[in-house]
Structures are given as C-alpha cells and as structure tokens.
C-alpha cells in the first residue's frame, strides 16, 4: 500500500444560524505514506480535527473522499482494529480506574488484560492503574488516552494534539513514544500546534491553513522551501568582518549585531579560516535555517482562525 491515509478534495461545511455556512475543510488533499511520524499542522480552526473526524467516520464530509488503510468511512469497520486514535481530549469514565476503562474498551475488540497491563506500563501509568481516573492530572489522562489508542497494537496511530496538558517531562515522554512507535513500522499521524515537538519528531509534515494544505513533504524540505541556507556569524568587530569576507568574495551582510553569510552550512570552515587568517576570531557560528515555527507562520499568515476544528 502506497498510502495509509488518502484524502482527495475533502470538504466539510457546517451550517450556522440564518443559513450561514462555515467551511472547516476546503478541498484538502493529503497522502500519508506508511511508516514513520507524520505531523499534521495548522492554526486553530484550520481543519485538522475535522479532517481526523472525517477519516474516523465521526463526521460526514460535504464533499471529496478520504480513505484510511484503503477504506472509506463506510468500510471503516474492516480496518478499525488496525487503527488506534485519540480525538481531542480522550474521554474516559472518571469513576473507573484506568485499568477498568481500558478493559472495557478492550472487550469491544477482544483485547485481553495482559495487553492492558502492557500499555499501562508503556505510558507510565502502571503504578496508578487502579486509581480512579478523576484523580488523574490532565497529563495522566492524556497518557491514558494514548494507552487506549495503543491497546489494539495498531498499524496506524492517529493522535490529535497528544501533548495537550502535558508538562515538559510528559511532552518529552510522548515525543520519545511517538518516535519509538514510528520506527517500529507503524504510522503515527499526529496533529499538533507544538511545532518544536513536531520538528523533532516527525519525518514528514503537512501544514494546513483555512482548510487547505499549504505545504507538505519531508520536514527538511518544508523547512528549506523558499529559504536560502546560510550561516550566522558573531564576532566583536562586525564592520571589519564584513570587509574581510567581502574581499574574499563571500556574500555577507550585517544583521542585528551578526553577520549573515550567503554560504551553505557545509562551507562553514571557509568562513572561519578566512576570518582567522586575518586575525578575527568568531564567537559564534551557526546555520541560518528557518525553524518550523517560522515556516508555519509564514505559510499560515500567522493568524488563527475561529470556527470548528
């Protein structure tokens, strides 16, 4: 199978009062290959959750098609045993223990107690497994939701903002968990607004804005698209540094106390040698790459939109 998630011209409109319509997803195309971590990014209201709900058959698209493991929503039951998911905040019974909640879910697909114990250990909830869920922190509830998604030992995991409510340690745990799952041959499809996390975790990303895809591809390609790779140099005498680099035929400009050099990071040694030969020693040298947040803000216009997600 070339793709595990396939979305073609997906459109979802919500009717509002007085016949007005809100377009949550507007002709979205998306193809997610099997294996690895796929980041699904977009500001609030971009249509991420609506797309996930369409994929899981929770919401009926107004137009277009979506397929999960080759099945459209009508045939989803044929593959749902291979799909684990969290949609927004995972709902569990607050007065039941984590173990009981998972056992109840597991019964639907014949998942046994051994597997419940395994996933509770995997998400670090084994010690609190018999406590009522209402006593859990938001982060613990989120981890319980992830445990529920893992219960079926799925081929594909669809996680909608899995790091919501997690503390920094919890975010790192989820990141490591996603990476681990992604390298086990599973596909992890994760929507998130914590861009730094996605940049560190995902192999590929798609960025949405106002219900449309504005960029997709491997993370490094999306990061470099439209950005000239360069170097940033810090030294004590910026004007002298500019003069020396200019004389050496290296494109360099001053930028807020730094020198921006128009050479790719692979040629950093040429810059250090040129400056050192003339007695100038740099105090900092780093690649001038756009991070995902910068790319995201540029592509989405930097504004969130209100409406259904």
């Amino acid at each position: 199978m070339d793709t595990v998630i396939e979305v073609e011209g997906l459109r979802k409109e919500y009717r509002r009062v007085r016949g007005r319509r809100t377009v949550a997803v507007d002709g979205l195309d998306l193809a997610v290959p099997p294996g690895g971590v796929f980041g699904f990014l977009g500001p609030n209201g971009a249509g991420k959750t609506t797309t996930i709900r369409c994929l899981l058959g929770l919401v009926r698209p107004t137009g277009g098609r979506c397929r999960l493991l080759g099945q459209e929503p009508a045939g989803l039951h044929k593959v749902i045993g291979r799909v684990g998911s969290i949609v927004e905040s995972p709902a569990m019974y607050p007065r039941f223990s984590a173990r009981r909640n998972l056992e109840l879910l597991g019964r639907i697909s014949g998942v046994g107690r051994t597997r419940v114990r395994e996933v509770l250990e995997e998400v670090g909830l084994a010690e609190r497994a018999d406590d009522q869920v209402k006593t859990y922190s938001l982060g613990m509830k989120q981890r319980l939701g992830i445990a529920g998604a893992l219960l079926k030992d799925p081929e594909i995991l669809i996680l909608d903002e899995p790091a919501n409510g997690l503390d920094p340690a919890g975010i790192v745990e989820v990141r490591e968990l996603m990476r681990r799952l992604g390298t086990q041959g599973r596909t992890v499809f994760v929507s998130s607004h914590i861009l730094n996390e996605v940049q560190q975790t995902a192999d590929r990303v798609a960025i949405l804005a106002k219900g449309r895809q504005v960029a997709t591809g491997p993370v490094h390609e999306v990061l470099t698209a439209g950005h000239v790779a360069g170097l940033l140099v810090r030294l004590d005498d910026v004007p002298e540094g500019l003069r020396i680099l200019g004389e050496a035929g290296i494109d360099a400009t001053a930028d807020d106390g730094l020198i921006r050099v128009g050479l790719p990071p692979a040629e950093a040694a040429r810059v250090t040698r040129t400056l050192a030969d003339r007695g100038l020693y740099l105090t900092e040298l780093r690649a001038d790459e756009a991070d995902l947040e910068t790319v995201f803000l540029e592509l989405t216009g930097g504004a969130s939109t209100e409406g259904p997600r």
């Binding site: 709900r53 899981l56 058959g57 009926r60 749902i80 927004e88 607050p94 019964r107």
Partner: protein, 248 residues
C-alpha cells in the same frame, strides 16, 4: 457484536446512577419492611396494590436510567471513543439500547421481588398472610411483570429522547414537560385524544383494568402494545438521527 454487548452491559452495571438508585430503592424496601413489621397490621393480600403503587417510582427510575445510559455518554464524549473502536453506529446504539433496557427490566423485577419478600416476611412475622393463595400470586406476578415492562418502555422513551437531544437533562425535561403539562392540557382541551395519551395508557396497563379507563378504549395488552410502539418509534427516530448526524 457479543463483545460490544458484554462491554455495554458492564458499563451499565457500573454506572454510579444505577448504583445510587438501586441503593435508594433497597433502602426504601428495608424501611418499608421495618415500618410494616412495627405497625403489625399489614395483610400480604394487598401486595398487588403495593406493587401498583411502586410502579410510578420504577417508571421514573427507568426513565432516568434509560436517559442517562446514552445522555451521559454524549455529554462526556465517550461515544467518540467507542466509535473509534466500533464505527458501525447501528451496532453501537443497539448494544446500548439492549444493555439499558434489559438492565432496567431486570432491576425492576429484582426490586419488586425484594419488596415482595420484605413485605411477606413482615406480614408473616407481625401481620396477616391470609388470602395469599395461588390467584394472589398470579396477580402479584402479573402486576410486577407489567410494572417491569412499563419501566422498560419508559427507559426506551428516556433513551430515545436523550439520544436525539444528546443530553440526559433534555430527556428528563422534555419528558416531565410532556407528561405533566402537555398531556394534562390535551386531556382538558381535546378529550377525544385521550386514547393516545401515555399517562392514561400507562395507568390502564399497570392497573390491568380497562373498566377504570373507559376513555382509553383499549385492553390492557392493547395499552402495552401502544406504549411499546411509541417507545420503538422514538428509538427508531433516535437511531436514524444517530446514524445521520456528525459526532463532534
């Protein structure tokens, strides 16, 4: 499907509302038994009347349990979670209906059986068991069964309304408003519509006495069939809505 049903039965059994209401009913049964024992006047032959009297409580409990069986799931978002495990909505709703309705039916029977045992013990110890013959037993069992069926039908009403309104409170509010306000208004303003009123048909069904409800113009079984048909129609409408609407 069997696994889904088993899961739903377990969920229903574990609900706090079920436990609280059953606890209150058991408490009431014990209190009734003690009071009856202390007054030393109870004649067991009057058990069918007592069971008819408790039918209103059972029907109310059935309505609440039926409504909360789906309303609480809508409110808390559990249906989203369940549908990511079993996307065939018809199956999910059927399992929930089966668990809620059969749960209410069994609970109603058990509660009435316990009440009967408590009153029988009190009557045997400090009252009278005279007249408690086989005809009495048949009448008592008949009333208990009809009360259990009626509470189950009303659980269906509650379930259907809560499913359509996606909220327990909607079902309780609409039910109360309809039964107390609308039906009384209809009875006063359009007496010719009385045969279609739920309260009159319920009264006839529980008492099992068409003579006392000439305005309904049905037999006891006819009233039960009519009520069951209304319940089935509500559940069917809820099912259609459940299949058609988005789950957000």
């Amino acid at each position: 499907m069997t696994a889904l049903l088993a899961s739903e039965f377990r969920r229903f059994r574990s609900r706090r509302l079920v436990k609280v209401l059953v606890g209150l009913e058991l408490l009431a049964i014990v209190a009734t038994g003690v009071i009856v024992f202390l007054t030393q006047e109870y004649a067991l032959v009057g058990l069918p009347d007592v069971l008819m009297g408790t039918a209103l409580v059972l029907v109310s409990v059935g309505w609440m349990l039926g409504a909360s069986a789906i309303g609480a799931d809508w409110h808390a978002g559990h249906l989203t979670t369940i549908l990511t495990w079993e996307p065939r909505r018809g199956r999910v709703l059927f399992a929930k209906i089966a668990a809620a309705l059969s749960g209410v039916f069994v609970l109603s029977l058990v509660i009435q059986a316990l009440l009967g045992v408590a009153l029988a013990a009190a009557a045997a110890g400090a009252g009278s068991t005279a007249g408690a013959d086989s005809a009495w037993l048949a009448e008592s069992v008949g009333v208990a069964l009809r009360a259990a069926v009626l509470s189950t039908i009303f659980a269906g009403f509650g379930f259907g309304l809560a499913s359509a309104g996606r909220n327990t409170a909607v079902a309780l509010g609409v039910g109360f408003g309809y039964l107390v306000i609308v039906e009384n208004l209809v009875r006063g303003l359009r007496p010719q519509w009385t045969p279609w009123l739920l309260t009159d048909n319920s009264g006839l069904f529980i008492l099992g006495s068409p003579i006392d409800f000439p305005q309904v113009g049905r037999s006891t079984v006819g009233a039960g069939v009519y009520l069951a048909a209304v319940g089935a129609a509500l559940l069917l409408a809820a099912s259609v809505l459940f299949r058609a609407r988005d789950v957000n």
